[in-house]
């Protein structure tokens, strides 16, 4: 049996391997994004990927289509400008939680109010990985990072509530739940209006290892054991993944 590898058409294969660390989850999201594009048969000419800064921000450059790597936190306003200038384009943002919810958080707040027709895939690894492992807007309470050596005391941002407050599309999955994560992305890409797919993604190098995980696999197993699929809810609980729509 030969496996379909046509999703690779969406990748600049000459740039592989990526510069991401062994055990990193970004590559999983990159692959799922390409598979989602293929599933929906999005034309390479007519689709634009926009990313911000950080490890996740480097995703855009691997797509075999026009892509924009913006300044830190600015993927959303750049994507909005692109979409409003040419409404025929499929505009997809792929970036990290620090980029989209921290430095760029205000743009997400207002883009969701405007309900601009862009799809946002958030690689949520709960850490600033590229800069060495500082806590991010989605770091769990109590989590130990470089800058929260005694455990994080800041409440993680409730992005589901933010997105739903403006009646936009929200879905959550993890890099362990491959089929589910892809389904979330596909639905997000199909959605007319602003959609936000939050994919919990492991960073072993600058997060997991400080929290007692030995490797990326153990972090994936943590996702497996701790997140339950619930696709029939209007509001996901803390440990649930699903499509809220």
């Amino acid at each position: 049996m030969t496996r379909k590898l046509t999703y690779l058409n969406y990748l600049k294969q000459d740039l592989l391997p990526t510069q991401w660390c062994p055990g990193c989850g970004n590559g999983i999201v990159l692959k799922l994004a390409c598979q989602s594009l293929e599933e929906l048969n999005f034309p390479k000419k007519g689709t634009v990927v926009v990313s911000g800064i950080g490890c996740a921000g480097r995703s855009a450059g691997f797509f075999n289509l026009d892509s924009v790597h913006t300044a830190h936190g600015r993927a959303i306003p750049v994507a909005e400008g692109i979409k409003l200038a040419n409404e025929k384009l499929n505009v997809i943002v792929i970036s990290g939680d620090g980029d989209l919810l921290g430095i760029g958080g205000n743009h997400l707040l207002h883009a969701s109010r405007r309900n601009t027709d862009i799809s946002i895939i958030c690689i949520a690894n709960a850490i600033y990985g590229m800069t060495g492992g500082q806590y991010s807007p989605t770091t769990e309470l109590g989590s130990k990072t470089l800058t929260t050596p005694s455990g994080n005391t800041d409440t993680p941002i409730d992005v589901q509530a933010l997105i739903k407050a403006h009646n936009c599309f929200y879905a959550r999955s993890t890099t362990y739940h491959l089929k589910h994560a892809m389904k979330c992305m596909v639905e997000a890409l199909k959605h007319r209006g602003l959609s936000f797919a939050e994919i919990k993604t492991q960073c072993i190098t600058n997060d997991g290892r400080r929290r007692g995980f030995k490797n990326g696999y153990e972090m994936l197993m943590y996702y497996k054991d701790n997140y339950k699929i619930n696709n029939n809810s209007n509001e996901l609980k803390h440990n649930e993944i699903g499509i809220v729509g």
């Binding site: 600049k12 740039l15 390479k44 000419k45 007519g46 689709t47 634009v48 926009v50 480097r58 855009a60 450059g61 797509f63 075999n64 289509l65 026009d66 892509s67 924009v68 790597h69 913006t70 300044a71 600015r74 306003p77 750049v78 994507a79 909005e80 400008g81 692109i82 979409k83 409003l84 200038a85 040419n86 025929k88 384009l89 205000n106 743009h107 707040l109 207002h110």
Partner: protein, 339 residues
């Protein structure tokens, strides 16, 4: 061609439409808001009021990459917020027009009063080396003309071009003739037609190259050469020669209008393309024993002129947003007395 009474800010808005602008994003700010107001409800333009100036400049970067001529307009505080993304647009070679109607700073300063405190910010505001083209007209008529020029220079140089104004010229009403100035068309292919990667990282052939000094040197050289080449087309200045004077007054924008009052006693040079500084000034300066810059800051353009001419340049600073001929006279007299 038609004769109309326009406010400076309105003239910018109408000229931008004439230049083919299709997208405008901005955030309300005194004294630039009239540009946003004028463009709202104009069917030729998509207008977006954003959450801040950072979002505004990034939205026009996106729109421009997607293939439409784009502009934003702001004043000092907003211009400061835009600085990172201005450098980003230089790095990615995105044509944009950014209007800065200056007011008194630093900080919130005096919002309704004109100033010229953002001169160096235009040139050095973002980090790293980049080479902006900056125009600073001094009348409503010129704001109309140079808005179109700014769009042309942006398209030709594939870079953000700054159109400077100030609270005085921006709020001035004058009758102008709307001349059909030539318009440069978009040459760059829009997003969604290829597999290019636009990035603020040092890059070569659409690929990031963050550890190769040679690639970076080449890129910076390219940005510099490009600016020099395009700006040559726009060596715009005004020179009022007074053969009985051994002193050259240099003024621009609102201050240059005041400088006309002194043409019986001084020669006057007014750069319109203020950056890169019009080279002609080197030749003209040779005729004069003394050179004085009068400007609404503590010597920003003076230091740039000194650097270019390699000689001492004197200063009449006018601070606080009020242009008073007595103050200027006082300043000129003090310089004459050697103080």
């Amino acid at each position: 061609m038609a004769k109309i009474l326009l406010q400076g800010n309105q003239a910018i808005a109408l000229a931008a439409i004439k230049a083919g602008m299709k997208f405008f994003a901005g955030y309300p700010i005194t004294p630039a808001s009239e540009i946003l107001h004028e463009l709202t409800n104009k069917k030729e333009v998509k207008v977006l009021q954003m959450e801040d100036e950072i979002a505004s400049v990034n939205a026009i970067i996106g729109a421009s990459l997607a293939g439409v001529k784009s502009m934003t307009a702001t004043s000092g505080p907003g211009f400061s917020l835009m600085q990172e993304s201005i450098g980003y647009a230089h790095m990615m070679e995105v044509p944009l027009v950014i209007v800065n109607v200056q007011r008194v700073g630093p900080s919130t300063g005096m919002p309704t009063f004109p100033a010229q405190g953002d001169i160096l910010q235009c040139k050095y505001g973002s980090h790293g080396d980049y080479f902006p083209i900056v125009f600073y007209p001094n009348s409503v008529d010129e704001l109309y003309k140079y808005t179109i020029t700014a769009f042309n220079a942006a398209e030709e140089s594939l870079s953000p071009v700054i159109l400077l104004s100030d609270g005085y010229v921006g709020h001035l009403y004058e009758t102008i003739e709307t001349v059909d100035y030539p318009v440069s068309e978009r040459a760059m292919a829009p997003l969604g037609t290829s597999n290019r990667h636009f990035t603020g990282l040092t890059h070569e052939d659409s690929k990031p190259a963050t550890s190769n000094p040679e690639v970076h040197k080449k890129l910076i050289k390219h940005l510099e050469t490009k600016q020099k080449k395009v700006s040559k087309k726009y060596n715009d200045y005004e020179y009022i020669e007074n053969n009985s004077s051994d002193t050259l007054l240099i003024a621009y924008g609102a201050m240059s209008r005041a400088s006309y009052n002194f043409k019986d006693d001084y020669s006057i040079f007014r750069p319109i393309r203020i950056f890169p500084i019009v080279e002609k000034i080197k030749e003209i300066a040779k005729k004069y024993k003394e050179i004085i810059v009068m400007e609404m800051n503590t010597g920003q353009y003076k230091s740039e002129v000194e650097k270019l001419l390699h000689r001492e340049v004197k200063l009449v600073p006018i601070l606080g947003g009020k242009i008073d001929l007595q103050d200027i006279w006082g300043g000129l007299r003090r310089l004459k007395r050697g103080k």
